[in-house]
């Protein structure tokens, strides 16, 4: 027993030496993770999209149309980047990507509205840029509804109604929307809390494949096994320990930054979130061993790993819900560790749901370990005989 621990320690020591010899390992793990954390948090630091540019086609050029412009511009979510009497100009600006929405005020708007001729407002959004378009859409829709409302208010005032009665006539129904756990509609909370663990998962996958595959490629795997006393399990554990420590530290510090320093919502247990990211690291390492074991040629394993890893972001369902995917992809999502992590995140951080919704994904993450058993023999042989085309 003591022998085994000593061998594990020896393999780990050898691995630390290898790690320090090539800048790639530390750069690709700590460097990339730090860069991505900084990048994603800084680009979304303002949370929800604000001051999205829109154009106003003011064919009327009256005091009312100008007031409509001012009021649109005074909102938080949009700003007027262009006022023009010509629709073609605004359309061109939209095609250039300079504005996300256009509000068109028809000619004679003022004259028509005061003479009850119901002039029609038009608004247009550019769905090719969905985030900007949604923001502009909501605001322009509100502005158009408010225009009729403001007119009604004026008429009713003239008729002598008191203000409190006017309000309920203009707005007989109101929706109060409650956005659970993210009342600001903050994109950082929505995206970053899954993207960063996803990037970590990708790093773990690629680096683990690389660390094992590089031994095979450089035919140093026999020496590696020798240090481990010929024991495959010892060799694996010893090799992965130093990396695992780095990954776990990275994962936990990432979650500490998000949930402790930036106060992203955690309705449930933050301890279980920490456990989830540790399990994500283990699951990704298992997947990496499975891939390099199935394809003990570094170049193939790296390519397949990259293809598999990148799909994880789409298939985890944090942007496009899995519910809406075709059933073959619904089945595929079970093979994506990030999907299980995301489920735990939703349950623990956002919903504080029943504990089984955390336990099942947690067990699924642990289950990825079973895949490695399938390739043990093959990988062990590859390490001993170097019997695969190693280029």
């Amino acid at each position: 027993m003591k022998e085994i621990f000593r061998n594990i320690w020896k393999v780990s020591r050898r691995e630390i030496g290898r790690m320090l010899l090539r800048p790639l390992y530390l750069f690709a793990s700590i460097g990339v993770m730090a860069l991505c954390t900084f990048f994603f948090l800084s680009i979304m630091k303002r949370g929800a999209p604000q001051r999205m540019p829109v154009a106003v086609v003011d064919k009327d050029q009256s005091s009312i149309s100008r007031r409509l412009c001012h009021e649109t511009n005074a909102t938080q979510s949009v700003q007027i980047a262009l006022i023009t009497p010509n629709f073609a100009d605004a359309r061109l600006a939209m095609q250039r990507g300079e504005v996300f929405g256009i509000l068109e005020i028809p000619e004679g708007f003022y004259a028509d509205i005061v003479s009850f001729k119901q002039p029609t407002l038009h608004f247009y959004v550019n769905n090719a840029y969905t985030v900007g378009a949604n923001t502009a859409y909501k605001q322009l829709l509100t502005m158009c509804n408010l225009t009729s409302g403001a007119f009604q208010r004026e008429v009713l005032r003239k008729k002598g109604l008191p203000d409190h009665l006017i309000m309920e006539r203009i707005q007989p129904i109101a929706i109060s929307a409650h956005l659970i756990a993210n009342p600001w509609g903050n994109y950082a909370i929505y995206l970053v809390s899954t993207i960063l663990p996803g990037i970590l998962a990708l790093i773990v996958l690629m680096l683990t494949i690389f660390a094992i595959g590089f031994e095979l490629k450089m035919k140093t795997s026999n020496e590696w096994l020798e240090v481990a006393g010929g024991n495959y399990t010892v060799a694996m554990i010893g090799k992965l320990i130093p990396y695992t420590i780095i990954y776990i530290v990275l994962g936990i510090s990432c979650n500490v930054i998000l949930f402790r320093f930036l106060h992203f919502p955690v309705m449930g247990s933050s301890g279980r979130m920490m456990l989830a990211i540790v399990m994500l690291v283990f699951a990704m390492e298992s997947m990496a061993i499975t891939i390099i074991g199935a394809l003990p040629t570094l170049r193939d394993a790296i390519s397949i790993g990259a293809l598999y890893g990148m799909l994880g972001f789409s298939l985890s369902g944090f942007t496009y819900p899995v519910m809406n995917m075709l059933s073959v992809f619904k089945a595929w999502t079970w093979l994506i560790p990030l999907r299980h992590y995301y489920k735990i995140y939703v349950n623990e951080a956002l919903m504080n749901g029943p504990i089984e919704n955390t336990i099942i994904p947690m067990l699924s993450l642990a289950g990825f370990f079973l895949f490695t058993l399938l390739v043990n023999r093959r990988l062990h042989d590859a390490m001993i005989y170097n019997n695969y085309p190693l280029k």
Partner: protein, 419 residues
């Protein structure tokens, strides 16, 4: 004199041709690069289309808590349930029950009618309130639930307003005029469906071209480095003077392959899968020229730093997400901090993706998207010079090494002779 000059030039052309053919041979003989260049470039777009097959989110399950239990609330729900966006799956008797369902992720939205809902509507003394609870685990749930409910609310509101004005003694026509004092139309000018696939996939297509080319070139450079095949990087006797021939010959090989692939992907995939494609195909092909050149020289400049065949991919794998976000597609360009925005101008993807979206999804002409088009040419030129500089430095160092060896050899020979 002139014939000698022409002859020299002709030899240079032939050498460039040799580099070009040799590079093509290297690409096709390397199964890893073939997989990245051909299989990934063609398989990924198809895979992504199948993942986002349904485009819009439909039938989001929601629960109803109707404390008012009135005709009005039922009429509202009846209209709402007709919307394709949502599906009412649970009717709960209390908020606590609905909350349990939401926590268990069985539903993604709750609509709550307070007990005085009908009373408020009928007496007209207060606004009636509806509470809507949205699951924020995916913004697409929220969008589906909130927007569809809002639409029903706006429609209902006009009807109620008309009723009230009639009750005040106005006639029906006048009430409508008052309520719809300024009616409006809403139009999605481009990408009418407003779906996720029709927005994201065109951007992803450009990214796939970028990343496969990028990783493929890094892989080729890394392999050359591993094999210590300096002849490959720099043929000819004096390496540093052959920079142009190498840069042109190699990039021509990549360009040839990717122009065909790019045309196939950018023109074929949107048509095959019914994504937006209102642009002129010729313009897409025109934009593809500077885009590919810029990406090729960008990748060749970066590939200098890859020591191994695989290391480029290991380190740069997460760059895909950074490119996607810094380009201002998933996240509006206007929201990027200035420093990141300026940095993004140096990436060919930033200009390429906007140019492609403008032309393909928004039907822009080349004049309209001139900014992107010109920027791509500038980047292509800039990165070409950088590539040449890198090759020159490499060649210079190589020449120096060779010369030093040669001198050492000669000195040794001289010494031998003198002895």
């Amino acid at each position: 004199m002139i014939t000698r000059y022409l002859n020299n030039q002709w030899i240079k052309v032939k050498e460039t041709w040799w580099v070009f053919v040799n590079e093509l041979r290297r690409v096709f003989r390397d199964p890893g690069v073939v997989v990245i260049f051909f299989v990934a470039t063609l398989a990924y777009p198809i895979l992504y289309n199948f993942i986002y097959w349904k485009d819009n989110v439909e039938n989001v399950p929601v629960a109803v808590v109707d404390m008012s239990a009135s005709q009005e609330s039922r009429a509202f729900l009846h209209k709402w349930s007709a919307s394709p966006d949502i599906k009412i799956t649970h009717y709960c008797t209390s908020m606590a029950e609905a909350e349990q369902l939401m926590r268990a992720q069985k539903i993604h939205g709750i609509i709550y009618f307070p007990s005085d809902f009908a009373q408020c509507l009928n007496t007209g003394m207060k606004s009636a309130h509806i509470s809507l609870y949205c699951d924020m685990s995916s913004f697409l749930y929220m969008k589906a639930v909130y927007l569809s409910c809002n639409r029903v609310m706006l429609e209902d509101m006009s009807r109620i307003q008309v009723d009230r004005y009639q009750a005040m003694g106005m006639d029906k026509k006048f009430s409508w005029m008052l309520v719809q004092a300024a009616p409006y139309t809403e139009t999605a000018l481009f990408c009418e469906s407003g779906g996720y696939a029709s927005f994201l996939i065109p951007a992803v297509l450009m990214l796939i071209l970028h990343q496969t080319l990028f990783f493929g070139i890094c892989m080729l450079a890394g392999t050359a480095r591993e094999e210590n095949n300096e002849l490959y990087l720099l043929p000819g006797r004096r390496r540093r003077s052959s920079v142009l021939r190498i840069a042109l010959g190699r990039s021509a090989a990549y360009f040839l392959i990717y122009y065909a692939l790019g045309a196939l992907v950018l023109l074929g995939v949107p048509r095959l899968f019914g994504l937006p494609h209102i642009g002129d195909p010729v313009l897409v092909l025109k934009l593809l020229v500077p885009y590919l050149l810029a990406v090729i020289y960008f990748s060749m400049s970066v590939s200098v730093f890859t020591r191994n065949r695989e290391s480029g991919m290991v380190v740069l794998i997460s760059s895909s997400l950074i490119f996607l976000f810094i380009a201002g597609v998933s996240w509006p360009q206007q929201m990027l901090p200035d420093a990141w925005r300026y940095l993004s101008y140096f990436f060919p993807y930033t200009w390429g993706v906007h140019g492609f979206l403008h032309i393909n999804s928004m039907g822009a002409t080349l004049e309209t998207t001139a900014k992107e088009y010109i920027a791509l040419w500038i980047l292509a030129g800039g990165y070409f010079l950088l590539t040449c500089l890198h090759l020159f430095i490499g060649g210079y160092l190589h020449d120096k090494k060779i010369n030093a060896e040669y001198l050492r050899e000669r000195r040794r020979n001289l010494k031998l002779q003198t002895i």
